[in-house]
């Protein structure tokens, strides 16, 4: 599974989502924003590639793919919140990306689980497909020029839904972020995330 997406440019769609500017933490991006951009194809994204995150002076962006109703992802909420708070100070912006949810449900989820970032709605799973995320929770680190630097689990505490260790032994996302911020290569760019599946359409034969 050599991940071609590891160098996939980030879609304009995401640029819009982040450039919208008015995104306060805890707020879900209105569906409309994304629908307007849904027509943008990956090929076009290449052509119109922009580096909005660099413009904003960010060193990296983390997308957390989440669903409001997964015991694994919800169990991670306190750790996600800690990561966001710690790495935000170091120039990293984080977003929660939700596929199968309404803006109201996402807003409630962010509040209930004290997640200190904006929610992005991805109803057509474009962000998921572009980054290669298939599971919730799954984390994705993007470079300022929109390349996927890391994709996978937050750490290794989840063994399978229903079986979660009290403590992880490898904190993959933190390790990867530390590497990125230190300008070093990510030691393990792709790991397997454990949790609930995104309802992606079956690959075409």
């Amino acid at each position: 599974m050599n991940e071609s997406i590891a160098i996939f440019p980030l879609l304009t769609l995401f640029w819009w989502a982040t450039q919208a500017g008015a995104l306060a933490a805890g707020e879900a991006v209105a569906n409309a924003t994304l629908t307007r951009l849904a027509a943008v194809q990956p090929a076009e994204a290449h052509a119109t590639m922009i580096t909005p995150l660099a413009d904003r002076g960010q060193k990296a962006t983390v997308l957390f793919f989440l669903t409001t109703e997964c015991s694994v992802g919800n169990g991670y909420a306190p750790e996600i919140a800690r990561i966001v708070q710690e790495y935000q100070k170091r120039g990293v912006t984080c977003y929660g990306v939700y596929a199968h949810e309404t803006a109201a449900a996402v807003t409630r989820h962010l509040k209930d689980y004290a997640l200190p970032f904006s929610g992005v709605l991805d109803p057509k799973l474009q962000l998921a497909r572009l980054t290669g995320a298939t599971v919730t929770p799954e984390a994705c680190i993007l470079s300022p020029d929109s390349r996927v630097l890391y994709r996978g689990r937050i750490d290794d505490r989840a063994v399978k839904p229903g079986t979660v260790r009290a403590e992880p032994s490898v904190r993959d996302l933190r390790l990867s972020l530390d590497a990125v911020l230190a300008g070093k290569p990510v030691p393990q760019p792709v790991t397997r995330a454990i949790g609930c599946y995104l309802d992606l359409p079956a690959p075409e034969k």
Partner: protein, 512 residues
């Protein structure tokens, strides 16, 4: 035209396999195959406001999670049910058969078709409120307990005064979780000593800690786990609640990623009639395995504890459950009858502390006097065990807190007479006394630490300063000086231990 019928039957014969194949080919659909399964095996927990993280109550909600459902049913994570499939028949078995499990992957492969929605069965209704009707008394936790967002599971006991001014028979108990998303299971105890109130008052937070009672001061009267429909006790049996008892509810909380509060209630259904038959529990080894000498080295992958108890009187058993802490892995009990035949009563190869089910035998089982109960309990104290609460693993001994271990397999048993029940309780006390003698003679410092000052008749006020001193009265009975106690030598030794504070203060070893 005499050939006609012949031809017709020939045609039928030819068509027969084709027709069969067509019937088999019918794709697995939600309405006809999946919905009946999910509605009856999953929806009790997976419905709004229940413990399941999402509802599985209609086509959309099930379809969207079809892949995950196929996986968690395949590896038997769901529905939660930990007895090995096909070994013992239980009436409350909620596990799926191999054929049922295969339906989920077949449905996924078929593209999760809905089928004819008209054929979808109606979702069984679970009415809000008390399932057994309005209780005669409702006992509510005096304060709400805050369950943190994360961390290890929490076992917390809450003391609720019942204020009963007379002895009371109870035919049913229903638990009402305050926040069903965090409550996993419950154990009920009664306290007539006032000790629970004291411990509750001493602990600054609501309730008090500890996973099981550390000594016998509380009387265990059963429990409940999520997804189980509350029902009246079977066979006209009743619980006995002495007047003035406090209810002690031990609640097992599982944090869910956000802080919540829980203030649960317990509904009691009283009975004018006393119990139809004397009944009790038979715990093997008794007292949560306290005298077993459980001592698990750090890192040990499969630590085995065994216990055998021969029942002294005829009885009929109707359910079994197992209790251990995080490291429990295999929990097994078999019966060897006086005629030499054997059968399984419980076999769980993947026991899980998170789900402490009570397994009700499909048909009650008669155990004649002389039946031997053999128990095997295994513990996984390796770092690879995801349930291991300590990292790196540390040595674990018997104890009441979550990071200690214990172990017992408990039968619910009905007797014909009170005398039979009492004799069984006494045999359990003698069993404990024998275990204590063995551990002290082996030189178990951990067991000595637990019973110090309460060992035998002469051992008051910590008379035995150390293990050597505690062993002395026992070794004095070793007339043939082989450093062991023969069965004859044991008779006075057991009498000595039974007089000690430990056994005397055990309280009830079974039910009153």
């Amino acid at each position: 035209m005499p050939y006609r019928p012949v031809l017709r039957s020939l045609a039928l014969l030819l068509l027969w396999p084709a027709a069969l194949a067509a019937a088999e080919k019918r794709p697995v659909t939600f309405s006809e195959d999946i919905a009946p399964l999910v509605f009856s095996n999953c929806a009790a927990c997976h419905r709004p406001g229940q413990i399941g993280p999402f509802a599985l109550t209609d086509y959309e909600s099930v379809k969207r999670r079809a892949k995950l459902i196929a996986e968690v049913t395949e590896d038997r994570t769901m529905p939660p049910w930990h007895a090995d499939p096909g070994v013992v028949a239980y009436s409350n078995d909620r596990s799926l058969t191999k054929e049922q499990i295969a339906l989920f992957s077949d449905w996924l492969a078929a593209g999760t078709p809905e089928g004819d929605p008209a054929k979808t069965p109606v979702l069984p209704e679970i009415k809000d409120g008390w399932q057994m009707g309005p209780p005669d008394q409702i006992a509510t936790m005096p304060e709400a307990f805050t369950v943190p967002a994360e961390g290890r599971d929490i076992y917390r006991k809450f003391t609720i005064p019942l204020n009963l001014d007379k002895d009371t028979w109870v035919k049913g108990i229903e638990f009402h979780p305050g926040d069903p998303r965090v409550v996993h299971h419950i154990l009920y105890y009664l306290d007539t000593t006032g000790k629970a109130r004291e411990m509750d008052a001493k602990d600054p937070k609501p309730g008090f800690g500890g996973m099981s009672q550390s000594n016998g001061e509380f009387r265990y009267i059963g429990g409940w786990d999520v997804g189980t429909q509350p029902v009246e006790l079977p066979y006209g049996l009743r619980w006995f609640i002495p007047k003035g008892s406090d209810l002690v509810v031990q609640v097992h909380y599982h944090p869910i990623g956000k802080e919540t509060t829980d203030q649960s209630s317990v509904g009691f259904h009283y009975s004018d009639e006393p119990t139809a038959k004397p009944w009790s529990i038979i715990p093997v080894p008794p007292h949560f395995g306290m005298m077993q000498g459980i001592d698990i080295p750090a890192g040990e992958k499969e630590h085995i504890e065994k216990a055998s108890f021969t029942i002294p009187e005829d009885c009929t058993i109707f359910s079994v459950n197992a209790h251990a802490h995080y490291l429990g892995k295999r929990m097994e009990m078999s019966a060897t009858f006086p005629d030499g035949s054997t059968r399984w009563l419980l076999k769980t190869s993947n026991w899980d502390f998170k789900w402490q089910e009570d397994y009700a035998f499909k048909d009650p089982i008669k155990l004649p006097a002389g039946t031997r109960l053999d128990v095997l309990m295994s513990y996984d104290n390796s770092a690879e065990n995801p349930a291991n609460p300590t990292k790196p693993p540390k040595r674990v001994i018997w104890g009441p807190s979550t990071t200690d271990e214990m172990g017992v397999i408990t039968l619910s048993a009905i007797f014909e007479t009170k005398e039979q029940k009492e004799a069984t309780h006494q045999a359990l006390r003698v069993y404990l006394a024998n275990q204590m003698i063995d551990r002290l003679l082996e030189g178990s410092e951990t067991v000595f630490g637990q019973v110090r000052g309460q060992i035998g008749a002469a051992d008051q006020n910590k008379a035995s300063k150390n293990l050597e001193a505690a062993r002395a009265p026992l070794l004095a009975l070793d007339f043939d000086k082989d450093s062991k106690l023969s069965s004859a030598e044991r008779i006075p030794a057991i009498a000595y231990i039974l007089q000690g504070a430990f056994i005397k203060n055990l309280g009830a070893i079974g039910f009153d």
